[in-house]
């Protein structure tokens, strides 16, 4: 029994196994990214491979730790000693990165919230169960002179219960940080205020792009397809610029789910679809899409990343050492 155990330990801690696992990881990543780009990395098979690599890396590094003193004693050259330290630090860094990733997989969360100006959303609950909410004061797009977006900014207030905890501006590359939670500017979009009239009944909606609305008392439906800030027929469904020079709503009309027509309506125009069936687009509400993330593994991954960079630099420091003049170019080390 002990014999079997010993052999298993030898195999799982050997560098050859590690190299084989690395090769498998490369092949799986390359193939996986082309076959199942979205799902592959969540597959059990792939994660099992990562765990095996983690175990192998852990055992290899443990062995290296045990042998370090002997290895260092053998080397009198400072560069070779640094290389030994570097190899240890590099592999430890990788272990920390994998630990950070695993913690994130088990205990991390992330999600998105869509917030229109003046809206509030629940972000999380703190340890006492009190609600942590985010209120969007304003969303702005800063532009360059050529009208390309230069920054997306969400001015927000963060509340715990009714108490204001923090006021901040979240923008791309500048997330908000609050007690282990990070909130990122991810995207934005527009919602359209719509009034619909059918058989004398009037309904108002705030519709998202792509939303299908029923006209009461009829078999008609209207789809709010897309908001175009600067409409120009020559540009089709694309906006000529990001600025609202000629704002239109592209909509489509259906009867019994059959497409009957498409139009580009300005705001404030009452459109007759059928006798006693009308639709009017009243205005626009822009919303900000924020990513909310909690990753308790981040400090480990971060520390791992730094160790990994430092270790790699030290481990390969011997590339600057003067090589021995020999034709078979044997590296005199380890």
């Amino acid at each position: 029994m002990g014999h079997v155990f010993n052999n298993m330990f030898k195999i799982s801690s050997s560098m050859k196994t590690g190299v084989a696992l690395l090769a498998l990881l490369a092949v799986f990543s390359a193939v996986g990214s082309s076959i199942l780009p979205d799902r592959f990395y969540h597959l059990l098979l792939f994660n099992a491979l990562l765990i095996m690599l983690f175990i192998n890396l852990g055992l290899c590094t443990f062995n290296r730790c045990l042998k370090l003193r002997k290895l260092l004693a053998k080397q009198t050259d400072i560069i070779k000693q640094l290389r030994q330290w570097g190899l240890l630090i590099l592999h430890s860094g990788l272990i920390f990165i994998l630990i950070g990733g695993m913690i994130n997989g088990w205990a991390g969360h992330s999600g998105t919230v869509k917030l229109a100006e003046g809206e509030r959303a629940l972000i999380t609950r703190d340890k006492e169960g009190e609600k942590v909410t985010l209120f969007l004061e304003a969303f702005e797009i800063e532009l360059y002179e050529n009208n390309m977006p230069s920054q997306y900014l969400s001015r927000v207030s963060l509340y715990k219960g009714d108490r204001l905890e923090q006021q901040a501006t979240i923008s791309v590359n500048h997330p908000l940080q609050y007690e282990g939670i990070k909130i990122y500017q991810q995207s934005y979009g527009s919602m359209v205020d719509v009034t619909i009239e059918g058989q004398g009944q009037v309904d108002t909606f705030t519709a998202q792009e792509g939303q299908l609305l029923d006209i009461p008392g009829s078999s008609w439906q209207v789809k709010v397809f897309k908001y175009i800030p600067d409409f120009d027929p020559a540009y089709g469904m694309e906006s000529k610029s990001i600025q609202p020079n000629n704002p239109r709503i592209i909509y489509s009309v259906y009867q019994d789910k059959v497409l009957m027509g498409v139009g580009a309506a300005p705001f404030g125009e009452r459109i007759e679809i059928d006798s006693a069936a009308y639709v009017e687009f009243n205005g626009l509400k822009s919303y900000s899409v924020l990513k909310v993330k909690e990753d308790p593994g981040l400090p480990y991954a971060g520390a791992g990343g730094i160790l990994f960079m430092l270790g790699a630099a030290l481990a390969e420091i011997n590339i600057f050492a003067k090589p021995r003049k020999s034709t078979d170019s044997k590296m005199a080390e380890e």
Partner: protein, 261 residues
């Protein structure tokens, strides 16, 4: 300025090609003057290449590291610069031909894939407006360049069935590996700030990982039995092909978070 950039890159491409031919003929005929002329052509090319980079920096007001076009020009420049440094240190001229042909081809791809970008640049999109941009891309450029040098040395070793340059192949690949490792970590730190995750399995990330793994395997086995010599050199050449795929394939065939044109 656009014209100056276009002419500089065209000139650099042309003299890199001439330099490659001179190195190749020099290898056959063993005439030292040919090697001298090849080196002179390479230096002329590097200067023209540098002119393009400086002109680009002046018109855009930032370092030329923000899109595929600028990456290619910087990548070629550093590759040739590293080679010249290597030639000075090692006094070996055997891999000059391969390297200069690669450099000429890289610049030719600028004319084929992005013929209208010489003077065209756009302001930075929000995600790119970060202090991490320069360090992340610069380390990637240096890594790619070191891998190019390593592959040129390894390819010559393979053809000549020699292995007296193995140590230099290792130095180039090892240096590239360190730079790629640093670049990946810096990219992760940046991605965590900009996208909210340090690793998204975006095609560029995935293929950078695959590239990193092949060099990691090389560094684990290049001195061991059965791998030493030609098999190890083959891995360095294969790694370089992956580098090219990570750049061209991912930029022009696959779309993802790293799509910056």
């Amino acid at each position: 300025m656009a014209v100056l950039i276009k002419i500089s890159i065209g000139l650099a491409m042309f003299v890199y090609l001439i330099s490659g031919i001179l190195y190749a003929v020099g290898l056959k005929t063993r005439h030292n003057q040919l090697f001298q002329a090849a080196k002179l052509a390479a230096i002329t090319g590097v200067l023209a290449n540098l002119t393009a980079l400086v002109a680009r920096t002046i018109i855009s007001g930032r370092l030329p590291l923000t899109d595929g076009y600028e990456f290619l020009i910087s990548f070629t420049f550093i590759s040739v610069l590293l080679y010249l440094l290597y030639e000075k240190m090692s006094q070996s001229k055997t891999s000059g031909a391969v390297l200069m042909f690669i450099a000429a081809l890289l610049l030719a791809s600028v004319f084929i894939l992005m013929p209208h970008q010489h003077g065209a640049y756009s302001p930075l999109m929000p995600a790119l407006k970060s202090p991490w941009l320069t360090s992340h891309v610069l380390t990637a450029v240096i890594a790619y360049s070191a891998f190019t040098l390593g592959a040129a040395l390894a390819a010559v070793q393979l053809v000549k069935k020699e292995n007296n340059e193995d140590i230099n192949v290792y130095r180039a690949a090892g240096g590239g590996f360190v730079m790629l490792s640093i670049s990946i970590v810096l990219g992760g730190i940046w991605a965590e700030q900009a996208w909210g995750t340090y690793w998204s399995w975006d095609p560029k990330e995935t293929w950078a990982l695959v590239t990193w793994i092949i060099y990691a395997i090389y560094l684990h086995v290049y001195r061991s039995k059965g791998w030493k010599g030609s098999n190890a050199n083959l891995m360095v050449v294969a790694g370089f092909i992956l580098v090219l795929f990570t750049f061209f394939g991912v930029n022009y065939l696959l779309s993802g978070l790293h799509s910056y044109g």
